[in-house]
């Protein structure tokens, strides 16, 4: 415990930048990791599930502990914990950034798998001259060039001179390359694909919004009402005429379009969303619990 609870730096875990101790630690850690790796490879089969179960449990246990274990009350950087309870609490809170970085980093290392899958599919297609192999070439070329320009641009922006490149005047080829590929193409295609949805909404609404069943009718009429209320001009005219009719009668004012739509959204939209949210939330909690305790086998064998 003492080893973990060290608050002073440098210590066993945190060595000064570029110090011999640090690099020995890194290399040592790497060796340990590799040994662990090999150890697991040649581990008897019956231990496999327990190992996975254990790792999963430890991962979850941290957050659960953090949740239920009393954390020190506004402990300042300059203060030391009063007793064992507080020091454990402090340790849990301090560990937070470390734990936070784990899943992101581990996933990042696995990205190679994704790229591998992409490459294997498209290289096969090219080598076997399958249908559309030309497009696979396009994909690979764009992949490579984006990677190249991306890194070149990134490197050129390092160091105190980096800020200069915020001005286009100081750009070099690589900066232009990255800008063209990323801002000029990638981002624009993002926006384009996103906006395609507008067309699909139109056709979907035209096809599906028919007054066939009670449900469909409810859906349709609510949708139309809300849409109209969000169109400033329509709302303004409707409200205006209502205000004119009401002249001073506050009760009638409730029939302004924005009022009605607002009421529906407050009363039914928010509430039904909340109903769903409770259900889904509990579902996620249950699923989380099952995974944490490895109660179910992922892959749901029938």
């Amino acid at each position: 415990m003492n080893l973990i609870l060290q608050s002073k730096v440098p210590n066993f875990w945190a060595q000064p930048f570029n110090s011999q101790g640090l690099w020995m630690g890194v290399i040592g850690g790497l060796i340990v990791g590799i040994l662990l790796f090999l150890g697991l490879m040649f581990m008897p089969a019956q231990f496999r599930r327990p190992v996975v179960t254990f790792c999963t449990f430890i991962g979850g246990a941290y957050w659960v502990l953090l949740y239920i274990f009393p954390a020190p009350i506004d402990l300042q950087k300059t203060e030391m914990p009063t007793g064992p309870v507080e020091s454990i609490g402090k340790w849990l809170t301090d560990a937070n950034p470390v734990v936070v970085s784990i899943s992101g980093t581990v996933t990042a290392f696995m990205l190679g798998l994704g790229i591998f899958s992409l490459l294997s599919i498209h290289l096969k297609r090219i080598s076997r001259r399958q249908k559309d192999w030309v497009y696979s070439v396009v994909l690979l070329v764009s992949l490579v060039s984006m990677t190249f320009f991306g890194y070149a641009d990134y490197i050129s922006r390092q160091g105190p001179e980096g800020t200069k490149l915020d001005l286009q005047a100081n750009w070099g080829l690589v900066n232009y390359g990255r800008d063209l590929l990323f801002d000029g193409l990638l981002q624009q295609m993002d926006a384009a694909m996103f906006s395609v949805i507008a067309f699909y909404i139109l056709s979907a609404a035209y096809r599906a919004f028919r007054i066939r069943s009670v449900e469909a009718t409810i859906l349709l009429s609510t949708a139309l009402l809300v849409i109209l209320s969000l169109m400033g001009a329509v709302a303004f005219i409707w409200n205006g005429s209502v205000q004119h009719l009401a002249n001073g009668n506050d009760f009638l004012l409730n029939f302004q379009l924005t009022e009605i739509a607002g009421w529906i959204r407050r009363t039914f939209e928010t509430s039904s969303l909340r109903g769903i949210a409770f259900g889904v939330g509990i579902g996620a909690l249950a699923m989380g619990l099952r995974i944490w305790l490895s109660l179910e086998r992922t892959g749901g064998g029938a």
Partner: protein, 310 residues
């Protein structure tokens, strides 16, 4: 001092009730999982969308066209992705038996890894490993709309006969749904994002709404653990309902009970009416949910080094 150690910061923020309530929910789940394990057979109501799965695959087999599956766009492998993959394990098991080609498009590398592993297992269990093509489970892109473009391209070129969109879907939901619809594929869809469900309803044949998605694996596989936890979820929902109803009644009564002078706007006079504390923080249930414990000081020794650095 002792209090300070017993009651941590988080209890002063969310209160003991939060931890207790979560604990109750957890216990509900565990109890029912135990019940189910002990062979108590528990009832699950019919879920239309799920009965459609077999039909969809059957249709795909007749046409000899592939089945496309997308386990949502989770940023990292989480329960939603896992649940989707569990359902897809069931789907691909059927597909494998009918020797029907499958396509599983992943958005995240970790999800891809899991899917690869799980689907291979499925084929192995069925003893049909020769039918498994590792490229049928593929990573398309981890950029939302590149993924959308890629998958719709696949749908159109492969002319998929059945498509399953289950998991975490956002704006791209409608792109998939309409594309698949335009080639007349039979679609089963569900998004844990309630905001996307109406679009699936508009464009898909069968839609699992909200929680039905989490019920799916229990419904399909009838594993005791899953069924049990489903019952536990229902208990939890009932508890939530009970809490809401109790809170409402209690709230209503408190409001009625306090009376004082208040303005009657019609007759323009003061008159006796009960007064509601319209500050929600005052309502009992709110205080239960988030108690406002006073800030408290704790005497601690100073850390000399930190002082020095300051």
């Amino acid at each position: 001092m002792l209090i300070a150690e017993a009651v941590g910061q988080q209890y002063r923020e969310t209160g003991w009730f939060g931890v207790l309530f979560t604990a109750i929910l957890v216990s509900f789940l565990l109890i029912n999982i135990q019940r189910a394990k002990m062979g108590k057979n528990l009832y699950i109501r019919r879920i239309a969308g799920l009965n459609a799965i077999d039909e969809a695959i059957g249709r795909a087999t007749e046409m000899g066209r592939p089945v496309l599956m997308v386990p949502g766009l989770s940023d990292n492998v989480n329960a939603i992705a896992v649940q989707a993959i569990n359902i897809f394990a069931y789907v691909s098991r059927l597909a494998a038996r009918f020797a029907n080609p499958i396509l599983l498009c992943c958005y995240n590398a970790a999800v891809f890894t899991l899917a690869q592993e799980v689907i291979r297992d499925v084929y192995q269990e069925e003893g049909l490993l020769d039918r498994f093509d590792p490229d049928s489970v593929r990573f398309v892109s981890d950029r939302q709309f590149a993924f959308a473009a890629g998958v719709s391209g696949l749908i159109l070129r492969e002319q998929t006969a059945a498509t399953f969109f289950l998991g975490e879907f956002y704006a791209e939901a409608l792109i998939f749904a309409e594309t698949a619809n335009s080639i007349g594929a039979i679609q089963v869809a569900s998004s844990t994002e309630a905001t996307q469900t109406p679009f699936f309803i508009a464009a898909c044949d069968y839609v699992l709404i909200g929680d039905e998605f989490y019920a799916a694996s229990a419904y399909l596989t009838r594993q005791p653990v899953l069924v049990g936890s489903l019952v536990g979820q229902d208990w939890s929902k009932l508890l939530v309902i009970a809490l809401i109803v109790f809170g409402t009644i209690f709230n209503t009564i408190t409001v009625q009970s306090k009376t004082t002078k208040a303005w009657d706007d019609d007759n323009g006079v003061y008159k006796d009416v009960s007064e509601r504390q319209n500050d929600p923080k005052q309502s009992f249930i709110q205080q239960l949910a988030t108690p406002f414990l006073p800030k408290m000081e704790v005497e601690r020794p100073k850390d000399p080094e930190a002082e020095a650095n300051k």
